[in-house]
């Protein structure tokens, strides 16, 4: 008896202890991340875990907060991730039931056909459970105050044409896309191609061979194994779908998808009595039995007479018609990993059967007294499919917005990164400063900066990080290609900020060849819309600086290599270079290079050395002079800086608007990943300051133009003042002192920098810092 009591009570205490452990683990690993479903249960192999919490396939979801606590004294906050990537946090009274939360979400997204959907959460034992609507949330999700739920399709409708609303179908499409991408739903090649074509037709409208290309297709991710010939097939299939509106395309998508073998199959992995690995799939027609990955049987629902579970064992009693027409009972027993998983499977089976097979939910049979019953009383509560399709009225048309898909770097970007070796001129030409995109980025700059500030310091942004309000949801883009590119650029920014290492963070502004450096990104490299250059150009445009050709004649020669640039960037995101913009752009880049070289905190890691050469070449077109060099040596920098002082001094005199400074500050402040990409030579230079400021945020302070001129105080100043809103433009008397000494220093340094002595490097640093004051 004591043992029994110990078992019943201690289990709970043990689980409580375990939850605390798991909280820490989950906080780091699972969080809201895409791999949330994969962490955990060591009994099942990784591939067997259902990746239930795959990341959304669309971007642009907003972060919403719904305060629905009313007058309750104690509240809980539930975070729900929707299919379109939105993160909704709902405040509810502590004792609220699952139904309350569900209603809030349904009201928020304005969904009427709610019976197909459900909220899923991960319980303490890494089993994904469906939130029971009739029970209190707190009692179900027992780990901690972090209530993280996922809005998903619970019952995959057997006939998608029965879905009444377009919005419901759209959500189904999103869910299926997620399933296909996460390999939960296996798709043969031609079906995958067709489904992808439908998605493209829905999102991009009619395929225009002049503007769209298979490279554009490669920006999307449809299947886990996407190859270039597949993308070409998708593209040609897309051409055939001319004239289909999004809702039609989605209906076709669903109708094609419903014939897939694993469509709507709720897989649960079990062990047979012989110890073999089996899987049970719950479908509208019955229970599929898989051995490994082969289907070996289907038990129709009418034939299943009993479905019981006891602790970790599931018993299935099926009647089969014998050859002689007699009925024969077969009993199957399956072993599961744990009692919770077993119960979960049983509940799913019960619900699945009730939803698909019954006309109304089972009314509680009072055959057995509730008081002395021994088994679980769980039954499906809710509307069945029959009720959902036959009941109710269609409401008047409601509108919703389709979110654009997440975009990734296209194939050409990754290919050209592979093809181009460091030090070639072509790099420079590929970073064209396109005027139309310039216009776009000007628009983007004020929006884009703020959200990235907080994203920056966090080195591990959660996967679902979506800069709030960064990208307004796009209505269906039957739009011009220009806007397509626009939102693709924005999407790049948003998707990357979430998915990629912080290094990558702002560099969606980076260039084609920059992709190398962001090795964390396993996928293809970012398309490098040359944001950075464009931003600098836009800034310079705002500065009303005229094209300054004389100081950089050689650079212009390189810049005019339009042919190569065209070859490299087939996408119209990279229109040809405009020579007029380049010198300004170069100037700005040089400035930036100086700043960053002077105030870098950390030397770039050696593996990036080679890559960073390319990136530096990309970024700092000024270095095109040194194009052949494998590393930008220090003596080149002062060389360039020589040229800089004169034009730089001219510029600020002409226009000293705080706006521009603000933009510069903002631009540089979040672009401080660049410093990691500077070549080793600059690293050596700035390694002095490496030890002084550890956090990347300090770059904000460093770039402030009004840096006091005292040499020894400079590093201290870098750390000292956080972002000043508008740095003072007026040069101090002491800076001017240094100012005048700069030209003298410059040739001196040009001659002696190679020596690498610390003092000279310091002086160079100071000089660069002071040059910043010129702004």
């Amino acid at each position: 008896m004591m043992g029994f009591l110990r078992r019943t009570f201690s289990r709970r205490s043990r689980s409580r202890f375990q939850t605390r452990e798991r909280d820490e683990r989950d906080g780091k690993g699972g969080g809201g991340g895409g791999a949330g479903g994969v962490t955990g249960n060591p009994l099942l192999l990784a591939h067997q875990q259902q990746v239930v919490h795959a990341p959304a396939v669309v971007s642009g979801g907003a972060v919403v907060h719904i305060p629905a606590a009313g007058l309750a004294r104690t509240t809980i906050t539930c975070r729900v991730l929707l299919l379109d990537g939105s993160d909704v946090s709902v405040d509810l009274p502590s004792k609220s039931k699952g139904q309350d939360l569900f209603d809030q979400i349904m009201y928020h997204i304005d969904l009427v056909e709610t019976d197909y959907f459900g909220l899923q959460y991960m319980d303490t034992e890494q089993v994904s459970q469906w939130l029971d609507m009739s029970k209190i949330i707190k009692k179900q999700i027992r780990d901690g105050p972090h209530y993280r739920l996922f809005f998903r399709v619970k019952f995959y409708s057997s006939e998608p044409n029965n879905l009444r609303e377009e919005f419901t179908r759209y959500l189904f499409v999103l869910q299926l896309r997620q399933d296909i991408l996460s390999a939960k739903l296996k798709c043969p090649y031609d079906v995958a191609v067709e489904l992808a074509a439908y998605c493209l037709q829905s999102e991009m409208g009619d395929c225009d061979p002049l503007e769209h290309s298979p490279e554009l297709v490669s920006e999307f991710r449809f299947t886990p194994k996407q190859s270039a010939p597949m993308e070409a097939d998708i593209f040609s299939r897309w051409l055939d779908l001319r004239g289909k509106i999004p809702s039609e395309a989605e209906v076709l998508f669903l109708n094609k998808c419903k014939w897939l073998e694993l469509y709507g199959v709720d897989m649960h992995f079990v062990k047979g009595r012989d110890g073999g690995e089996y899987a049970l799939g719950l479908t509208p027609t019955g229970i599929l039995v898989f051995e490994g990955s082969n289907k070996i049987g289907l038990f129709f629902w009418p034939k299943i007479t009993r479905l019981d579970f006891k602790k970790s064992r599931l018993t299935l009693v099926v009647v089969e018609d014998d050859d002689q027409g007699r009925e024969q009972e077969h009993t199957f027993m399956f072993q599961l990993a744990g009692s919770k998983i077993c119960k979960h499977l049983w509940k799913c089976a019960v619900e699945s059967h009730s939803f698909f097979r019954l006309r109304q939910p089972t009314t509680g049979n009072a055959s057995r007294s509730d008081f002395t019953r021994l088994g679980s009383r769980f039954r499906f509560s809710g509307k069945t499919e029959y009720q959902a399709t036959h009941g109710g009225r269609v409401r008047r048309a409601s509108t919703f917005e389709r979110r654009p898909s997440k975009r990734y770097p296209s194939r050409t970007q990754s290919l050209c990164k592979a093809a181009i070796s460091p030090g070639k001129h072509q790099h420079i030409s590929s970073h064209a400063s396109p005027d139309p995109s310039l216009h776009r980025y000007q628009h983007n700059i004020p929006i884009g900066h703020e959200p990235w500030h907080p994203a920056h310091p966090g080195l591990t942004p959660p996967v679902y990080l979506q800069p709030s309000g960064h990208t307004p949801p796009h209505s269906f883009p039957l739009s011009s290609p220009a806007s397509d590119h626009q939102f693709s650029v924005e999407d790049n920014e948003t998707s990357y900020s979430g998915k990629i290492h912080h290094h990558h963070g702002c560099h969606t502004h980076s260039h084609n060849t920059l992709c190398h450096t962001h090795t964390r990104n396993k996928r293809r490299a970012p398309p490098c819309p040359a944001d950075e250059l464009d931003i600098s150009q836009s800034l310079l445009k705002a500065l009303e600086s005229d094209s300054d050709s004389p100081p950089w004649p050689s650079l212009q020669v390189n810049m005019d290599n339009k042919g190569e640039e065209k070859q490299l960037s087939e996408k119209s995101l990279h229109p040809p270079v405009s020579p007029a913009m380049l010198p300004d752009h170069l100037k700005c880049n040089i400035l930036k290079a100086q700043m960053e070289a002077a105030f870098r905190k950390e030397a770039p890691p050696t593996p990036r050395g080679k890559n960073s050469n390319e990136t530096l070449i990309d970024r700092y077109q000024s270095s095109s002079q040194d194009s052949a060099a494998s590393s930008l040596t220090a003596d080149k920098m002062p060389h360039l800086q020589d040229r800089n002082p004169t034009p730089e001094r001219l510029q600020p005199r002409s226009n000293t608007s705080t706006n521009r400074r603000k933009r510069l500050v903002r631009q540089f402040s979040f672009n401080h990943e660049d410093e990691n990409d500077l070549p080793e030579a600059l690293a050596a230079i700035s390694s002095q300051s490496a030890g002084k400021s550890g956090s990347t945020n300090s770059l904000d302070t460093q770039i402030q133009p009004s840096i006091y001129p005292q040499m020894e105080n400079m590093p201290a100043l870098e750390l000292g003042s956080p972002c000043r809103p508008s740095p003072s433009p007026s040069p101090h008397p002491s800076p001017s002192y240094y100012h005048s000494s700069i030209p003298r220093l410059a040739p001196y340094l040009a001659a002696h920098t190679d020596s690498g002595e610390e003092i000279r490097l310091d002086r160079e640093k100071i000089r660069r810092a002071l040059l910043m004051t010129e702004l």
């Binding site: 009591l5 009418p302 602790k311 009692s339 119960k343 109304q360 088994g375």
Partner: protein, 72 residues
């Protein structure tokens, strides 16, 4: 008289022990029931279906074959 007085506390003690044992047993029973309810469950899908659609689902006897045609 004295015996009666001595008996009363013994009886009460006895009664209290019995009650405590009973309550303990009840507690144990409740634990067992709760555990069983949590760990077990049974469901009869075909029975549910039959309830819904009545007994017209499964024709036990095949329909009578039509009369054999005879050649005239």
């Amino acid at each position: 008289m004295v015996m009666q007085v001595l008996m009363a506390p013994a009886v009460s003690v006895l009664i209290s022990t019995v009650l405590s044992l009973l309550s303990l047993a009840l507690l144990l029973l409740l634990c067992v029931i709760r555990k069983k309810r949590r760990m077990e469950g049974t469901y009869r899908p075909s029975a549910e279906e039959r309830k819904q659609t009545g007994s017209g689902e499964k024709p036990s006897l095949p329909l009578p074959l039509p009369k054999e045609e005879r050649l005239i």
